[in-house]
Amino acid sequence: MSLPDDTTPPEAANMIVARDVDVHYDDKQALFGVSLDVVGGNVTALIGPSGCGKSTFLRCLNRMNDVIEGCRVSGRIEIEGEDIYDRSLDVVQLRARVGMVFQKPNPFPKSIYDNIAYGPRIHGLAASRGELDEIVERSLVRAGLWDEAKDRLRQPGTSLSGGQQQRLCIARAIAVDPQVVLMDEPCSALDPIATARIEELIDELRQNYTILIVTHSMQQAARVSQRTAFFHLGYLVEVGTTEQIFTNPHDSRTQDYITGRFG
């Protein structure tokens, strides 16, 4: 899938390159000229007050906005140098490369096994039953759910607790072996203990996947991410290493937000 290194333009050394992304919902503009580079193998946190467009931007990256009626996206987004809004691109294959974990755990009302096997099945990733079993096991192990779930693979995914469900959703996302995993406030519906487990997991997953996480909690952003982007009112205000954003923000709005003056 990946292009040979020598043909890669220098700019695209970053995994994801977004340039001048505007998003409109019908007449309302939600994003204004967002340009952001995402470094591969990192966790990038998107922070900002509610309605600032961070989730909207996240959903642009796997074109989940396509399913919202009246939503228009303009500008250019490339993943590994490939324009993901190109007409010839198959959006289904894009979503296999860019997995997503949602705000509320949303397992399919099927067994744990089938929840994870669904993606590999529709993408034809396993040639045999054995391979599929392997994928399921590997994904559950990576999501840190294997020990809890290995004896109840045939039970419905909805029988798990909230935190387990969310890890199931993460396992489901990584089962199709994506390059990028998008997480839209993955812990907002969970208790602190479950949240800590997910955060550990995110840190482990960083080795294999490029992760973007939208979060409301600045502590969480500080804990799990290497880079942070701050959105405000549809604009990308500032982006940098997490350390720099939290200790030495350049923009006064960023400063105000992280010190809790608004948001």
Partner: protein, 462 residues
């Protein structure tokens, strides 16, 4: 029926196509260097081939079935040569019927001559040949589609996208059926009604006071000799609907109020489904109940108090119809009453109003548009109801407001005009379609008005 056989053959070929396509897709990757990867799962390749196999063949089948009778007729009549020229269309129709009967070996209306026999022979030959021709042509087309679809398969071929596009078109096509049904209803009613108004002036139909279509049956009285003034029918329909609403509206409305405002949850959970049973009983059962149980009782009671009650009185049909409609009024009104926001009620209680005062002066006025909408729907239901009136109301078109007399309704007339009558050109049968058109138009207007009112009301409180 040959269509069934052809359908089965096409489906069989499509299944074969699916199998072949899937197998070929698997072959494409295993024979390659190993780097080749399928864009779509093998199953979609199979589905793609199956669609190419089945869709054109089914299209052909539909076209063939639509055109076959006309083609058969043309071919058969052309063997008769100039014998057909100059004949009136009805005569040609009769002639063709005879040929068909002769070919089928049943009785004909005339002694067959040689020409007729030859035509019948050729007709029979063709009729025997055509199903086989259809089978062969459809199978060939299916096989051709199969081969074509199979040839297009490559590892990079987006079979899933192609299959999903076709599926989407199939879905779109099926969603037009509902619209086509409406168009079919409007066109068929309009077409036959226009033929009726050719023979009977529209003004006479709409404003005439006398309805006696039976006279038009007599052979020496073709055309508009029967009288087709529909006013008594409309009046009868209105009378019976009115009686029905007099029963259904108070009972239904008070039931709804009680269930929505007073009843405890457990009572509500039991009574609501019980009331809805009334709506689930087939109307023919109500008809039986009205005609064989209620009517004799009412008649006997009338005799006892010295009233002259017809055994097919409007009263009985109307009351029984009203019983049937109670649940329509009650469940729709229940919905709109529960939709009235709590805050309104609490505002009224806060002023020290009793519950009934609150209901009468706050809840009902607020829910009024919705209730009116539900009553309109119930009226349209009453007007269109057929079996109760067919079994319990009369046939005589009396222009009266006396509920103890027999009146007739639009639906009763449609049924009596059309049952057992084969002749399709007489004003008598066509009149049924004119009445059907009126019925359709009135119920349509009532429904649209009611839906608009209810929707407006819903928006107000959403």
């Amino acid at each position: 029926m040959s269509a069934f056989v052809v359908t089965a053959v096409i489906l069989g070929l499509a299944a074969l196509g699916y199998h072949l396509g899937r197998g070929r897709a698997r072959g494409l990757v295993s024979n390659g260097s190993g780097t080749a990867r399928l864009h779509s799962l093998p199953g979609y390749h199979g589905g793609y081939v199956a669609l190419w196999c089945a869709l054109p063949a089914f299209g052909l089948l539909a076209l063939w079935l639509a055109l076959e009778p006309a083609a058969l007729r043309y071919q058969t009549l052309s063997t008769l040569g100039d014998q057909v020229d100059g004949l009136a269309p009805e005569r040609v129709e009769l002639l063709y019927n005879d040929i068909r009967n002769l070919a089928a070996g049943t009785a004909t209306s005339r002694a067959p001559d040689a020409g007729l026999k030859a035509a019948a022979d050729s007709h029979a030959r063709l009729e025997a040949l055509l199903p086989w021709a259809l089978l062969v042509v459809a199978s060939l087309l299916a096989v051709a589609g199969l081969l074509y679809g199979r040839r297009r398969l490559t590892p990079a071929f987006r079979a899933r996208n192609a299959v999903e596009r076709s599926l989407r078109w199939i879905l779109i096509a099926s969603s037009t059926i509902a619209v086509l049904t409406t168009i079919g209803i409007v066109l068929s009613l309009l077409f036959e009604a226009l033929r009726f108004f050719d023979k009977v002036p529209l003004a006479e139909f709409l404003f005439g006071l006398e309805w006696s279509p039976q006279t038009a049956l007599r052979a020496d009285q073709v055309g508009s000799s029967g009288s087709f003034g529909a006013v008594p029918i409309f009046a009868g329909t209105a009378l019976i609907s009115l009686i029905a609403m007099l029963v259904a509206v108070p009972v239904g409305l008070f039931s709804a109020i009680y269930l929505a405002e007073y009843a405890k949850r457990r009572v509500r959970d039991v009574v609501k489904p019980v009331l809805e049973i009334l709506a689930g009983i087939p109307t023919v059962v109500y008809g039986f109940f009205a005609a064989l149980t209620v009517a004799p009782q009412v008649r006997g009671f009338g005799e006892a108090v010295g009233l002259d009650v017809s055994s097919e009185s409007a009263l009985v049909a109307g009351v029984v119809m009203g019983i049937m409609i109670i649940p329509f009024v009650s469940s729709l009104s229940d919905d709109v009453i529960t939709a009235v926001p709590r805050s309104l009620r609490e505002g009224s209680y806060g002023l020290g109003a009793t519950q009934s005062e609150t209901i009468r002066q706050v809840v009902l006025p607020a829910a009024l548009p919705g209730i009116v909408g539900s009553i309109l729907l119930a009226v349209s239901r009453a007007i269109g109801e057929t079996m109760i009136v067919v079994m319990a109301a009369g046939l005589a078109a009396n222009l009266t407001a006396n509920p103890f007399q027999a009146v007739t309704t639009v639906t009763v007339q449609i049924v009596t005009l059309l049952i057992g009558d084969q002749e399709f050109d007489s004003p008598k049968t066509l009149a049924a379609f004119a009445l059907g058109l009126v019925l359709f138009a009135i119920t349509l207007v009532l429904n649209i008005v009611a839906l608009v009112i209810v929707r407006k009301y819903r928006e107000e409180y959403d």
